[in-house]
Point group: C2
Chain length 258, copies 2
């Protein structure tokens, strides 16, 4: 479901597809780390990349796994999470097409990664990618830029988790989804929710019941309306932004969804 609505990401004029050089034809290349390489250098990625398809609910890696690979999502969506020993869970991010994951300069991943929908990823072995980074500093710069943006998003999320009310949390989350949709679709008002209420709850530090009640509150205030439980419309965007704690002048500076 997430997959087909993002087709607009694909450049109108597709690249030549070279059998031995799939990265050259990659639809998300320019959006991800790989975009840092010039066309002629992209083939170097093929030498180290492998591909993987994940069914919904399938794990890409666990928090405790040795962090030996980095990944780029070419299609679908993934959730990242950490758990406490007793099973309480915190989702630290939802990732979509062209997003990057697996950055860990320690030897273990900092979180588990599980597919939300049918997902395909490119896998880059860490050691071989690092060798490539030595050769192409622009790629490393891009990686640093991505990490820096993720850090900023993580801080936004701390503000949300530590200081916002349930309704504000949900409004902030929907605001992010809406910004994201605006960037990638024509209609920024319609939002797909590929994750369950449980996932949203674990992302926002709430229970499913409170998420549901907050949805109902936003409906009652006519800020949003539902088509189906997985698809909704934002009716009153300014009110949504106000609830999310976003000041009007910074509407543009949309943040990635982590």
């Amino acid at each position: 479901m997430t997959a087909n609505r993002i087709e607009r990401l694909v450049p109108a004029s597709p690249r030549d597809i070279q059998p031995d050089n799939p990265c050259a034809a990659c639809a998300v290349r320019d959006l991800s780390v790989c975009g840092a390489l010039r066309a002629d250098d992209v083939s170097r990625l093929n030498a180290i990349v492998t591909h993987k398809t994940l069914q919904p609910g399938e794990m890409l890696f666990l928090e405790s796994d040795p962090a030996d690979s980095l990944f780029v999502i070419t299609d679908g969506s993934i959730k990242l999470y950490k758990m406490l020993p007793d099973g309480r869970r915190q989702i630290t991010g939802f990732l979509f097409r062209s997003d990057f994951l697996g950055l860990a300069f320690r030897d273990r991943y900092a979180y588990s990664a599980e597919a939300l929908s049918l997902t395909t990823v490119c896998r880059f072995p860490k050691d071989r990618l690092e060798a490539l980074l030595d050769e192409f500093p622009e790629m490393e710069r891009r990686l640093l830029s991505i990490a820096s943006n993720e850090l900023a998003s993580a801080q936004d999320q701390m503000l949300l988790l530590g200081r916002k009310t349930a309704e504000e949390k949900l409004a902030s989350f929907l605001w992010l989804l809406s910004r994201r949709a605006t960037l990638k679709e024509l209609d920024g008002q319609t939002i797909d929710l590929p994750m369950t209420r449980m996932d949203m709850a674990d992302y926002l530090g709430l229970t499913i019941e409170t998420v549901s009640r907050s949805f109902s509150a936003l409906k009652r205030k006519e800020i949003i309306a539902f088509t189906t439980p997985q698809r909704m419309q934002i009716i009153d965007l300014p009110e949504m932004a106000a609830l999310a704690g976003i000041e009007e002048e910074s509407w543009e500076a949309s943040t990635a969804l982590r």
Copy 2:
């Protein structure tokens, strides 16, 4: 107060102090980004670095400021925070000697930075540092490694804010401070708290009253004991770790305090 107890960080044999090359004599160099440069190259930093001293409570920069500089703390401590329009505040990290801040690939800082104690920092203009990064890829790699570690810490903090109880939050915080002290001091049991209860509350997503009550609960359980309100001892480290949700096998993997 934070300052003098960390003197052990300074290598026993001080470097030659060259008047035109203060970075060569820098006590925290090896611990920070600057440590990525070899001794002969360190002088290159002098060309771009300036220094600044901050009084307690003085701002280094505001969330809305143009992000044109990066900083390394040479002494003291700093808190980073974000605010909501109505004044609610979330502290996203406490930083100490040798810590690095200001990374922002957007044009504005993601947070405000304010000195907790008397603090000195090195300031590197962003554009000139980037030029240096092009020349010394090891430095960029180090920066990426720092960013990656901060990201992991940010995710730990999300788990704390979203899913831990007040007592668990405080125990986790004290655990971090204790790990940090163990790395830098001989006695890992004694913890200095250079921040107020208000700062702790804004870091943990609580109120000062709840922080205070949680301290009292930990005292009652004889997990900690106070010397003064700003100085305490951990009595029962295993119990502290258990409350913090840290499994025994991962005690080593101490995380930075962000």
